[in-house]
Amino acid sequence: MSARANPLIVGAGPAGIRAAQALVAAGLRPTVVDEAPRCGGQIYRQPLVDDGRDAQSRYGSEAAKAERLHRDFAALQDRIDYRPQALLWNLRDGIADIMHDGAHQRVAYDGLILSTGATDRVLPLPGWTLPGVFTLGAAQIALKAQACTIGTNVVFAGSGPLLYLVAWQYLRAGVQVAAVLDAAPLSAKINLWRGLPLAPAVVLRGLKMAAELKLSGTALHFGVAGLRIEGEARVERIAFRSGGRAHSVACDGVGYGLNLRSETQLADLAGCAFRFDPRDRAHLPVNEASGRSSVAGVYLAGDGARIAGADAAEAAGERAALAVLEDRGLPYDVARAAALKRMLQRIDRLRDVLEAAFPYPAHWADEIADSTLLCRCEEISAGEARQAIKDFSLSELNRLKAVSRIGMGRCQGRVCGGAAAELLAGETGRDIASVGRLRAQAPIKPIPFALTSSDQTNEEQHDEAH
């Protein structure tokens, strides 16, 4: 039996943890690379030091899940090659380039599970670069991982379940929630009743949060549009339209997000085929129910593959690990694979409901003013992008990038890419699916110019068992 390299898991959130656990259970020793210092991903993110708060106050209704994941991952420590605070910045031919503590490492792998997670999806707003404006995810991270609030009188705006969850968490933390501005009309929430039989606890908890916000005197506005964040050196107000009227609310912090977007750069570097996903309104790596991508030996799990939430990520991570086992010719639990598939299908139906109840306001893209910054990194306005589209008769996103530098800044289009695609589609009268997607480039995040050379290349460090 020839020696095979260990499987590599990228990301130690719910998907990565369950994938590692399933591989270890089968006798493999996966390498787990994660950017964070401690496991949990963003959803179950842990503080840098114990801050005296318990899991209940940090993770609320999800405390038991968070504790289980943290505990289960800790139990794997001797049986995995765990590399926290490490950025996997390039992939090719079974070798991963990793930056850890300013040093470069090369790791050989055989079987790659990408559980890279997601970040907040946004569309540009006037004033969105002002200090005090953060994504909803950021507002939540400040609270749960750093025990800080982003203001004392905060507005939460956008769409998605996270909008109400974070607003409610801030309320519970004693912060004045100045308003919750929901992009969706109130009528969209009727869809939640369809979610009741699928996940009664989730739906009822959401309704309870909204009710508690309302009872606390928090203003809830629905069908908002025309958001404008105002202030000199920091956020001072947010203006918006709702119910045919113009409003303005004073605040010293804004949490903003329009659901989530998948982190797909590594799937791109791994050579995975992509296709447009109408529900996420994004190009996503092609993914079978088993987690297999279009590339043999590359597997996808969790929100990095398609937005489905933390429970789905746990199931998908385990399922992808079972696919790794099957593809290595190792025994795996076929009944468990089928059960995970059913679980994922049920969550997927719930996801359809949530998307209908918390829809993405694509129509906001039509009214992005020319003067609004589209690219935060290099301060390129929507007007400059529109001009480039006209001047060069552009119809493809990477051409727009080449001409306007949209997507070429430090974030590589993570923040502006979706909005740029909307703008390009709108300007050219094309469908969003047909304007392309920004190609990923290595390094997928900034790395220092002076990385010290490889401390060890573990290409010879193989798994003896298989």
Binding site: L48, A233, R414
Partner: protein, 94 residues
């Protein structure tokens, strides 16, 4: 007034650092972003317009929170733990 407000971890050990030359104290467990924004309203000024910025995603994706140290080193504030003696500059060098 600073952007951030602490709700816990207040009794943790102090970590001294400087912000634009002024002595400040963070707390054990702070990211560089948290330590700065508990004192200040910005992390940096845009290289393009000079407009103030204070980060955006806090999860290492948006790259909006890179700050400079006096020795020229650059740090992504949201994903870097605060360590004693950091000398951070938030003003754009002209």
């Amino acid at each position: 007034m600073p952007l951030f407000h602490r709700i816990a971890r207040i009794q943790k050990a102090a970590i001294p650092f400087t912000l634009d030359g002024v002595a400040c104290e963070g707390k054990a467990g702070d990211s560089v972003l948290t330590a700065i924004l508990c004192h200040a309203e910005r992390l940096r000024q845009s290289e393009f317009s000079g407009a103030p910025r204070a980060g955006f995603c806090q999860m290492g994706a948006c790259q909006d929170c890179w700050v400079q140290c006096e020795d020229g080193e650059r740090l992504r504030a949201c994903s870097t733990p605060l360590t004693e003696g950091m000398r951070i500059i938030t003003a754009r060098r002209t």
